[in-house]
């Protein structure tokens, strides 16, 4: 199955378009938009998977108080079926609290949390549709990997041959084949993380909630775990929290940024990246020291900062590309330009910008 996402079919043509898709014998996953009713009525026998918003996560006006102190205040967001969403925020912003509420560990003080269209705090059965990797990845250290996965499987009501098959599959998928007969306490942190992921995935949940899945791992392990998440996210709805920006860029369609219990951004990654794009910043390195005022004379330059005697940070006033002008400036004066680059408005910068504390 090749997942294709993001096709939106509207209006009276919807049915014929879908039928055309179905005739190609593709599996079509149809999401009806909220508020449009039950939506499409396809003839019986059509080769079609329906998942009408079944895998979605909906959070409405969620507030959680610890004592009198709000950990999360009035948070609302949606995760559409099949989407991979990063949940960003500095430490203590309320990420873990939100995830604990999403998985039914904590009840919300106010507001509602719907997973697969069911209120989490009321329907225990929803938990079967959720795979959860808690923060710090708690595991029974004195259990063997196989024993632990069998226990988790049985808790989800998987038995006998089916359980054996699923455990075998998940062990292979999570790269635990060589470690499967070891005690969990003997495993390295990276492998423990895989065991954590394996227990979250064992019952083939539709919704995956991962709380900081790569914290504390070495760079190789981070890449491995990231690839693993990517490979499993193909037909699942995934919400994961992190404070590593590259991770979001590597994995997500969309990011929700939370700070001090409130959502400060909920945008597609590229929209997030293009924030503050109006200001262009360029770094120019020259071979010999030059006068800063001369640089200021270039058309379109609003500000020049000295980084070292020969290197300058140049801001453009209009956001236009200053590189040709700087190059000509150097050529006209016979200066050797060693380097000239535009500073990317990285996700880190956007993150810092969004979550910096207001000046006290």
């Amino acid at each position: 199955m090749i997942p294709l996402r993001g096709f939106k079919v509207q209006g009276s043509d919807a049915r014929s378009v879908l039928r055309a898709l179905i005739e190609t014998e593709m599996s079509v996953s149809i999401t009806s938009e909220p508020g449009t009713g039950s939506g499409l009525n396809l003839e019986p026998g059509t080769f079609c998977y329906f998942c009408t918003s079944a895998m979605s996560i909906t959070v409405r006006n969620l507030t959680k108080l610890y004592g009198a102190r709000p950990a999360v205040s009035n948070v609302s967001f949606n995760v559409e079926p099949g989407e991979v969403v990063g949940f960003l925020g500095p430490n203590g912003a309320g990420k873990s609290t939100t995830m604990k509420i999403l998985t039914g560990y904590l009840p919300p003080t106010e507001g509602s949390v719907l997973v697969c269209d069911q209120e989490v705090s009321q329907h225990r059965s929803v938990r079967k549709a959720i795979g959860y990797l808690p923060e710090h990845n708690p595991l029974y250290l004195d259990m063997y990997v196989h024993e632990f996965l069998n226990f988790v499987g049985k808790v989800y009501g998987i038995h006998g041959a089916e359980l054996k098959k699923r455990v075998g599959e998940i062990v292979e998928r999570c790269g635990l084949t060589l470690e499967q007969n070891k005690k969990i306490e003997m495993l390295s942190k990276g492998y423990r993380q895989r065991v954590g992921l394996a227990q979250a995935l064992l019952h083939d949940p539709q919704v995956l909630i991962l709380d900081e899945p790569t914290t504390g791992l070495d760079p190789n392990q981070i890449v491995e775990i990231r690839q693993l998440i990517k490979s499993i996210s193909a037909n699942k709805t995934v919400l994961f929290s992190t404070h590593i920006m590259q991770e979001v860029q590597a994995l997500c369609d969309r990011a929700i940024v939370i700070n001090k219990g409130s959502i400060v951004a909920d945008e597609r990654i590229k929209d997030l990246m293009s924030r503050n794009a109006g200001v262009g910043t360029f770094i120019a390195d020259f071979e010999t020291p030059i006068d800063m005022n001369e640089l200021k004379g270039i058309e379109g330059v609003s500000e020049v900062t000295l980084l070292s005697p020969t290197s300058f940070k140049i801001l453009s006033s209009s956001g236009s590309d200053l590189r040709p002008a700087i190059f000509r400036f150097a050529a006209d004066r016979n200066l050797s330009l060693l380097g000239l680059r535009q500073e990317e408005n990285s996700l880190e910068a956007v993150f810092r910008d969004l979550t910096k504390s207001p000046a006290a």
């Binding site: 998985t103 959860y132 808690p134 708690p138 595991l139 808790v155």
Partner: protein, 242 residues
Amino acid sequence: MIRVFAKEIGGFLNSLIAYIVVGVFLTAIGLLMWVFKDTSVFENGFADMSTLFTLGPYVLVFLIPAITMKSFAEERKLGTMELLQTKPLTDWDILLGKFFAAVVLLLCALLPTLVYYYTVYQLGNPVGNVDSSGTFGSYIGLFLLGAVFCAIGILASSLTNNQIVAFLFAALLCFLFYSGLDSFAALVMAGDQGLFIRQLGIVYHYESLSRGLIDSRDVIYFLSVCFVFLLATKTVLGSRSW
């Protein structure tokens, strides 16, 4: 519930706790019954098992908290409580699984002492001159008392994430309920009030059972005390939502 029960039993067997608890219990009771002069059956002169049933509860006051101390305290410390409580398990599933696992371990400690009964039975003059009904009433009493201690231990374990605190608190509560209330009643009150307080304690009902008559009131007492402590544990587990 069965899943948690199976996991707990597996945990007992894997971590040697089961062997140590059963071993210590049998060693202690064996020494008291057959070796130490003050309490030995041979020195006693009567073919009965009163040593087991009078000293057994005091051994259990220390042993059962040792069995139950890790049940919730460790899960809290490791964070695996969150793992369990986000699975499709109810709080009752989790705590009853742990409770029954502890009760089964207790049973494993008590069953081998039936050999002592056989020995005493053979030692009687004439053979078989033993108060069998009293003995089996006492066995039932000891088992129910142990079950109450398990419930107390599990409550204590759910209150803290420190196993030593859980152990000490459970031992204190067990002792208090076993003979503390009885001593208290004897100390300060006489008459009906004193009787009422005595009846709250375990000794009153334990002694009643050991006379060999299985009185439903005593059985109901033990079961309801278990239930009250388990309900308290359930409340503690649910308190995260307050």
